[in-house]
Structure formats: structure tokens, C-alpha cells
């Protein structure tokens, strides 16, 4: 039959935050379902074998994308990539985030995939991570044990690995207001738009006195390069970039090509946001 899975699982759709946190604390083999664009493919491919799939889309308020000049931008766990792209606040105050979002997969995927899912999946080629890293965004993580905040630079621990414990949910992302208005851009190299994982992705952000770069698909985790002055020569930024990445050769391209293109995109973006 079309669209069926090898594995079976129970589906739960809690209506409240308390129910959601209780459910994921109760079960060991549990996965949280938001857009499903990574999880359902992983289950179909036998990469994940959850006994219980907990759909968080029925919990009130989790789909919100809100902006406040003091608190900054808050992206709920159920907010889709297109929710973020449709937000005037995002387009106005965080164009870098909009650029990352626009480069993620295809239109119908963006209708379903979530920003939080993209980072929780912790793929080295996450499109949202380079922008969120540059913008000094934080993950607000909840469980029955309480709430904690983790900066994204501490969030990724390896390929598809994060600091999240099995009973925790990344409830919302907070992008500081201080990052609003900063100039930046994102470039992703891929073979075909909309149909392929990135070969390499580079974000550049000039913010106050700082120059920051975020890179995807060039190390086991998305990488942040910071500590550069805003007027750093491109050669210095590129040297810091090469020191921070550790690209591999795979089916998409060689390590050398990845490093070369990461540098090329970084130089182009540095000129564009100069």
C-alpha cells in the first residue's frame, strides 16, 4: 500500500502543555511530531523506531511567531518555515532568518516543516542553524522537571545529536531583540533548488561591532565563527572560517570543494553586506 511504514507506533495528540510534557516523560521510545518532514522519513527508513509519536500541534500557542522590541522574536515549536516567512516582523527585523528559511527545501515542505524541527533534527546541513547561531538565538527547553535555556552555540553536540534529554521538548526559540536590524545574508550551494540537501551553507551577519559567520554542511554540527571585529578584512574572516570547519568528502562532493565553496560564499557575502 502507498505511504505505509514498516514500523508501527501509537499516535498521541495532547491538548495541553502539561499533557505533552507528561507523555514524553512517561515513555522511553517516544518521538515528538511537528511537521513530520524528517521524523516520518526516518521512521520509514528504519532510522527511528518510536513506540509512541506525540503530536504537539494541538497544544495552544505553540505555533506563534511573535516579535517584541524588548523580548525579541519568539518562534514556537509548531511554527512552520512558511509561518516565519509570512511574518512581517521576521522579514523586517531578521532578514537573515528569512533568507535561511527561503532556502529550506520546497514550498510544500515549508508549509509543514518547523523551525524548531529543523534544529532539533540536528543535521549538519540544517538551513536554520547558521542564521540562528549568528543571531545568538537561544533554545527554551521544557520538561516536567522545569525549564532551561541553552544558547544554540551550545545546543548541537554531534551529527543528529543535541543537548536535549529524552523527556525534554524545545518549546520555543528566542532571537534577541539586540540582533534586530543587523545586516546579513545566507548562501546555500545545492545541485537543484528544492530537491537536495545543501553541499555547503554560509551565513554572514554584521551586528554592532561584531562580524559573525554561521556555516552548515562543513562539520559534524553547524558552526559559529564569532569574535571578529565588524571591519575584519575578508582574509581574516576566511582564515577563521577554515580553522573552524572540518568538511568531509561524501556523495555530494569532496572535502576540498566544500572548503573552497564555503570560502567563496563567505567572500561574496562579506562584499554584499559591506
Amino acid at each position: 500500500m502507498a505511504g505505509t511504514f514498516a514500523g508501527t507506533f501509537k499516535y498521541r495528540a495532547p491538548a495541553t502543555r502539561t499533557e505533552l510534557l507528561d507523555l514524553i516523560a512517561e515513555h522511553e521510545a517516544v518521538r515528538i511530531l511537528a511537521g513530520g518532514t524528517d521524523l516520518l522519513v526516518d521512521i520509514r527508513n528504519g532510522v527511528r523506531h518510536p513506540e509512541v509519536v506525540v503530536d504537539l500541534k494541538h497544544v495552544d500557542g505553540l505555533r506563534a511567531v511573535t516579535w517584541d522590541p524588548a523580548a525579541g522574536l519568539v518562534i514556537g515549536a509548531a511554527a512552520t518555515i512558511n509561518d516565519v516567512l509570512r511574518s512581517r516582523d521576521v522579514r523586517e527585523h531578521y532578514p537573515l532568518l528569512a533568507a535561511c528559511a527561503h532556502d529550506l527545501a520546497s514550498y510544500q515542505i515549508r508549509n509543514r516543516a518547523t523551525v524548531v524541527g529543523n534544529v532539533v533534527n540536528a543535521s549538519p546541513c540544517s538551513d536554520m542553524a547558521p542564521g540562528l547561531l549568528c543571531l545568538q538565538a537561544r533554545a527554551v527547553i521544557s520538561s516536567t522537571r522545569g525549564e532551561r535555556e541553552v544558547a544554540f552555540r551550545e545546543f548541537f553536540t554531534g551529527v543528529k545529536r543535541t543537548v536535549l534529554e529524552h523527556d525534554e521538548v524545545l518549546e520555543r526559540i528566542v532571537v534577541p531583540a539586540t540582533s534586530a536590524g543587523a545586516r546579513g545574508g545566507y548562501r546555500k550551494l545545492k545541485r537543484i533548488k528544492g530537491h537536495d540537501l545543501g553541499i555547503v551553507g554560509v551565513a554572514v551577519l554584521k551586528h554592532g561591532n561584531d562580524l559573525r559567520l554561521g556555516v552548515s554542511s562543513a562539520a559534524p554540527t553547524p558552526v559559529l565563527i564569532d569574535g571578529l571585529p565588524v571591519d575584519a578584512p575578508a582574509d581574516d574572516a576566511v582564515a577563521a572560517l577554515h580553522a573552524a570547519i572540518s568538511p568531509i568528502s561524501d556523495v555530494r562532493c569532496s572535502a576540498e570543494y566544500r572548503a573552497f565553496m564555503a570560502e567563496t560564499y563567505a567572500r561574496r557575502l562579506l562584499e554584499e553586506v559591506a
Binding site: M1, A2, G3, T4, F5, G7, T8, F9, K10, Y11, A13, L33, G35, G36, T37, L40, V41, I43, R44, V53, D55, K57, N82, A105, S106, Y107, Q108, I109, N111, R112, K193, G194, H195
Partner: protein, 163 residues
Amino acid sequence: MRVSLTVNGRAYEREVAEHHTLLSLLRDELGLTGTKEGCAAGECGACTVFLNGQTVNSCMVLAVEAEGASVLTIEGEATGGELSPIQQALARHQAVQCGFCTGGMVMSIRELLERNPSPTVDDIKDGIEGNFCRCTGYQQIIEAVLDVSGQLTPETKGELKHV
């Protein structure tokens, strides 16, 4: 698990397995086989349908997630035995060969035109980026979209000059 939904304006209620997709509900339970399974991984777009007004890959939505939803598939496109303007434009421009991608393609074109009634060639390429066509080629499809959105002139019609 019991699921109630409307598909192309008609109400259905079915018992579905919790791990089955919306695509399998449409095809195997409701017999609506115009929606195709291509890659089953969200790459090809052959399974594209509208779910509550937004296009989605139905191979990546659980049937139980469609509880209470309104779904539109390619079977709802023609009315009264007459092809829709999008379908007629695709036929007029030879933009259908094997037809496997066409159902999903029509859904993405409909969505694009609802959002942007006069899309440029680049807008069209963006709008159908999630739909693979492996035989006709995209030029005829792009031309059909330009035609149905009233952007072809007698000079450009049929010549693919604008692509």
C-alpha cells in the same frame, strides 16, 4: 483510530491505522488514486494535495493528522466533467506526458496562482520547485502557467520565447 475529514467537499469517516499516511488513506481507503506516491520522502511532490488550504506532501502527513481537515486533491480539480483552466492550459501546451507528476503539479500551480495571480518565470520556478517532472520538461509547464495567468501574447504563444 477514527478519522473524519472532507475530501473535495465530500465528508468521509474511516478507521485508519495510526502509522498510515494521508496518502494511503486517499489512495487505498477512498480510492482517489490521482494522487501518486513517487519518492515517499518529500522530494518529488507527486503526492501534493491541499490540507486546510495549504499544499503538503501527503506521504509525509499521517492520516490521523487530517482529523477534521478539509483536503483538496486532483480529483476535485475538474468540475461538471470539464477540466479546470489550469488543466486545460497544461493540455494546450503539451505539458503532460506520462502524467505521473501532473496531479501534484496542478496542486502546486493552483497554490501559486492563489498567492500570486501574475507570477514571473522565476516565481513559477519557485512555486513548482517541489514537483519533479521527469519526462515533459518544465518549459511547457511554465508556459502553461504563463498562459493560464493571462501573460502570453500572440507573439510569444507556443514559442517558449520567454523561458
